[in-house]
């Protein structure tokens, strides 16, 4: 059983609230949900939509067809009528849409009339609509009361009660006019220990659980969600969240905080990352730990600022001048986003390097129902040299040579030992040098010694589906859910599997899992949300494997299960 609901309307009509309330409602009822958002770069007007897929088993990508379209304006009908499934219906209010729907698939609902009748604020049509959707699905309105209180409770109990009343009216109308149209089977019980979370929240939560104490950033869609999440936690957890004057300041502040001894992070999107690359290089030579969230949107330049793309892979691999080690993660689910953000902090401090967690608008905004995260899975180790261990040392050199390339990371001010870091090439003490020998030793320490250790830290890609696949779908980052469901939907006789990379740089070794052998034995199809198949190129340059086929989408929209299945038809034969 599954069902796709799409809510369409203008920016400013409250789509996001409707969507989130409904999603939470379904989740609390025990349905698995997956949502995605499509919105324009404007604050009012235009056309946005919010899509909810609910099912009785886990779902992790979107469908092309819509079963229930809630149209808050006429434009929504024009744009999405074609997307209706065979049983699909459009819920609309002729007054709001200023038109009459013609055809069996139109379900008229008097949202405006309800609001007028109850003499409440016009914006409450949204609650009527939520009530109606719930009613049409034959579900109980009861849980709505608690949810709406959670979301708008701070506006006062009266607002809450009124909204409930309006929703009830919408529900009543739906039940009386369209009872039995969609009858959803009761959900499996037991999603109480599941969470409903999106990629931004998961990264923010991951940072919080990793001891992040400092987050400086400049607002930039679609990365701002992380900052908003952490800002809300700042007071309680003694976390400084500072909005910098620009991205250059953002990364340099974070590096300052990290130098001073606290775990620090910054986040941005591609254009802001461009301004940060000099700072990334600074982290490289000074060996200052830092975690950077790079949340992609379609470029170049301003591009499509509120949409999705995976086009900055090479930029984060190579952005910054000179040669230094770095790690790049590309989580595919909120769960991976959570644990990899944690691993990012861990490796950043352990190896004293910049670690980039690359996400995109799709991952940032999509909500998933997932088993709750577990504290046991977290890497929580404090690598700093401070307290007695530092005070008792006879001497300290910030860049003292060692076989691993790692010098203990002392906290300045925590002892009489000085901590000197330098963006110039330097000696073990951190002072400027120019001689060739020291340069060579420092490059060896910083780069060559650490590289093999880092590579050994990388988890191999995830192999899902046929054990000996004829067809191997390759992906990285936010396409995880999509590829997984494609595998699930392919007929078993096709022997399809997915190979998903969430730790892409350095590319993992193939000693524990010989994924290169797997690649070589299958027809490989690399699926990327970009134009130039960056991941396929990386894979080729690192493993020698050239993917058989490439499927790309770069119009700012994510793949859906159906359009990828269709695109695959050409190859799965």
């Amino acid at each position: 059983m599954e069902l796709t609901i799409r809510i369409g309307g203008e920016a400013g009509q409250g789509l996001q609230l409707i969507g989130t309330v409904l999603t939470t409602y379904f989740k609390r009822l025990g349905y698995h949900v997956f949502t995605h958002q499509d919105y324009m770069s404007r604050v009012r007007g235009g056309h946005n939509f919010y899509q909810i897929r609910l099912a009785d088993k886990p779902v992790c990508c979107s469908r092309q067809q819509v079963d229930l379209l809630l149209a808050l304006d006429s434009n929504t009908i024009d744009l999405h009528e074609d997307a209706l499934s065979q049983q699909g219906r459009i819920i609309y209010d002729s007054e709001m849409c200023k038109r009459q729907g013609v055809g069996r698939h139109f379900l008229y609902m008097p949202f405006t009339a309800i609001v007028k009748e109850l003499a409440v604020a016009e914006v409450m049509v949204n609650s009527a609509a939520v009530g109606a959707v719930i009613g049409i699905l034959g579900l109980d309105l009861q849980p709505f009361a608690e949810i709406i209180a959670d979301f708008i409770g701070k506006k006062g109990t009266e607002v809450v009660t009124t909204n409930i009343k309006v929703a009830q009216a919408g529900h009543d109308h739906a039940v009386s006019d369209y009872a039995g149209l969609f009858s959803l089977p009761a959900p499996e019980a037991g999603l109480q220990s599941h969470i409903l979370i999106n990629g931004s929240q998961a990264m923010g939560l991951g940072a919080l659980m990793s001891g992040c104490k400092f987050y400086s950033a400049y607002p930039m869609t679609p990365s701002t969600g992380i900052m908003v999440f952490l800002a809300a936690k700042a007071a309680e957890h003694g976390l400084v969240v500072e909005q910098a004057e620009d991205e250059i300041a953002a990364i340099n502040m974070a590096l300052g905080a990290s130098y001073a001894g606290v775990r620090a992070m910054t986040g941005t999107s591609g254009g802001g990352y461009a301004l940060m690359t000099e700072g990334v290089s600074l982290a490289g030579i000074t060996e200052t730990p830092i975690v950077i969230a790079e949340v992609q949107r379609p470029g170049p330049a301003t591009g499509l600022p509120t949409r999705t793309e995976q086009s900055d892979l090479f930029f984060v691999l190579y952005g910054g001048h000179g040669e230094f080690p770095r790690v790049v993660f590309t989580p595919g689910t909120p769960e991976q986003a959570f644990y990899l953000t944690n691993k990012a902090f861990h490796l950043a401090e352990k190896y004293q390097i910049p670690v980039i967690v690359q996400s995109d608008q799709y991952l940032a905004d999509c909500q998933w129902t997932l088993p709750e995260f577990a504290e046991e899975g977290l890497l929580q180790e404090d690598f700093r040299l401070r307290g007695q261990a530092l005070q008792e040392r006879e001497s300290y050199q910030r860049y003292g040579y060692s076989d691993s390339g790692i010098t203990p990371l002392a906290v300045p001010g925590a002892s009489r030992h000085l901590v000197v870091v330098d963006s110039d090439e330097h000696d073990e003490d951190g002072h400027i040098i120019e001689d060739a020998e020291t340069r060579n030793r420092m490059m060896t320490k910083r780069l060559f010694n650490k590289l093999p250790l880092l590579q050994a830290e990388m988890t191999p890609p995830e192999h899902y589906g046929a054990a000996e696949p004829d067809f191997l779908l390759i992906g990285y980052g936010s396409t995880w859910g999509l590829l997984k469901e494609v595998v699930d939907h392919c007929p078993p006789q096709k022997a399809v599997a997915m190979l998903h990379f969430s730790e892409v740089w350095p590319l993992p070794l193939s000693d524990t899992f010989d994924y290169v052998a797997l690649l070589e034995q299958a027809t490989t199809i690399c699926v990327e949300n970009n134009a130039t198949s960056q991941f396929a190129t990386l894979l080729h340059s690192q493993t020698g494997h050239r993917c058989t086929h490439r499927i790309n989408r770069f119009d700012g929209r994510p793949f859906t299960l159906d359009n990828l299945m269709e695109a695959l038809n050409d190859y799965l034969c």
């Binding site: 104490k213 957890h237 300041a249 001894g261 995260f373």
Partner: protein, 285 residues
């Protein structure tokens, strides 16, 4: 008690006769006076001649990128507000490449002392015009003379309501004055900026030691550094007579220990892994 020798660092790579030596020595003297132990303070610097300073003394040091001293200093101070943080930058560093950070560090009023080694030229890169180079001066990259007007750091800082705004001269006569000024700036709660007029014997053949010496004078006793409009008026003096001293000060709120997350003490001292996952995930259930 610390002594001058406690601040002995690497051998300076500056030109003989450079004003930077006087600044370095004066800073060390101020540190002795304040009895500040080397590990109790951090100097953040950028790239330029003046910016090499922290290597020439002993202190915690973050010698970062050209132009980016103030964000780094801000991050350090917010992470550890018990640390005394100074920033050392050149006129190109601070008013050119890093201009935006100056504006916003002043607005933020972070408790950092900024020393600008203002030699009115790009020294390390060999003599191009800096923001404080007089308009019209010809250099190899300004063949028609510098096209922009000379930046007035005092006026700029006052316009932004900077918490502490001062100018000094790195010449013998000015040094005791500079020393006191540094001490006052470090002790001042809030962002304190001292623009230090410094000769560059190699690339600035006009604004020489003697040029400055003939012109600088100290703001008169009785000058009221809390009067912003008057401070602005005095900041416009530049030419035959160049005032030095504390032009302006105020006590506006500092971005520091009083802000909510810092009330429990410096971030660097907080517990690291104390957050309860289940509790923080509450809103996701």
């Amino acid at each position: 008690m610390t002594t001058f020798a406690d601040y002995d660092g690497q051998k300076p790579a500056w030109c003989p006769g450079c004003g930077n030596f006087a600044i370095l020595n004066t800073l060390k003297r101020a540190l002795v006076d304040m009895d500040m132990e080397p590990h109790h303070f951090t100097i953040v610097s950028g790239i330029g001649q003046g910016a090499k300073l922290p290597h020439y003394t002993r202190c915690n040091t973050f010698n970062g990128l050209h132009g980016r001293t103030l964000p780094v200093a801000t991050g350090i101070k917010l992470a550890n507000h018990d640390m005394v943080v100074m920033a050392v930058a050149g006129d190109g560093d601070c008013y050119g490449e890093g201009g935006n950070h100056l504006l916003h560090a002043i607005r933020r009023n972070i408790n950092v002392t900024l020393l600008v080694h203002n030699n009115q030229v790009y020294g390390l890169t060999k003599g191009q015009a800096s923001p404080t180079t007089p308009q019209g001066r010809v250099t190899k990259t300004q063949p028609f003379g510098a096209l922009s007007s000379q930046l007035n750091p005092m006026a700029l800082a006052i316009s932004l309501d900077c918490s502490f705004v001062a100018r000094a001269f790195a010449g013998a006569s000015g040094l005791p004055f500079l020393k006191e000024m540094i001490k006052e700036a470090v002790n001042h709660e809030g962002f304190a900026m001292i623009d230090i007029l410094q000769n560059c014997v190699t690339f600035n053949k006009v604004n020489t030691f003697h040029w400055y010496k003939e012109r600088v004078y100290e703001l008169e006793e009785g000058y009221d550094p809390t009067d912003r409009v008057e401070a602005f008026r005095r900041s416009l003096e530049w030419g035959e007579r160049i005032p030095t001293g504390i032009f302006y000060k105020n006590q506006r709120p500092v971005c520091g220990k009083d802000i909510t997350p810092l009330q429990k003490g410096p971030l660097v001292g907080h517990d690291v892994f104390s957050v309860n996952l289940r509790q923080e995930s509450a809103l996701f259930y």
